[in-house]
Symmetry: C2
Subunit: 105 residues, 2 copies
């Protein structure tokens, strides 16, 4: 069952990753699933939300910039980033943002 990320009260950080895929599979699904699993074990990880249609959007939430920096430098994640640039994405953007306020139900 789908769940929204259960983040703590702000402030915290959001990494907004948007992408457009190429049509090359080459292990993409397995790697994407592995990255979600691995991110969850990282210090400072607060949650993530993903959807893909024409465009893919993954927003991951983090305690602070240091946690984001560590995750970006993780060896397995570095390999995934390289495959992303070279093979899986025709376009992507990463936006690092500080969540100041939230509401909802």
């Amino acid at each position: 069952m789908a769940m929204l990320a259960n983040t703590p009260p702000p402030p915290y950080y959001a990494v907004i990753f948007t992408s457009i895929r190429t049509d090359i599979d080459q292990g993409y699904g397995e790697m994407a699933a592995r990255m979600v699993e691995l991110a969850q074990t990282q210090p400072g990880f607060l949650g993530a939300e993903s959807a893909r249609q024409a465009l893919g959007i993954t927003v991951s939430y983090w305690q602070d910039l240091a946690a984001i920096k560590n995750w970006k430098a993780h060896s397995e994640h570095l390999l995934a980033q390289q495959m992303g640039r070279e093979t899986w994405y025709q376009a992507f953007k990463v936006r690092i943002s500080k969540v100041e306020r939230d509401y909802g139900f």
Copy 2:
């Protein structure tokens, strides 16, 4: 053809709207399309990206907090928000965040 939002250099703001739908249609598709169209005409609007699978994610980008506040208070948008709360969403979260850095290709 899908396109990533062509945002200016940071800083700017991102409104991260994530939701889980009910199974009630009641004009949802038309209203969602109308809100995208209307948002694009608002002062300070910089772009938007959307995808929905089990979870829906729409990220809209804005010049500053005043632009976000104006859009939130727009009369047609207020009606859409009310329908969202009462009819279309079983859960949603709005996160207002300041984009500090971005990269990609």
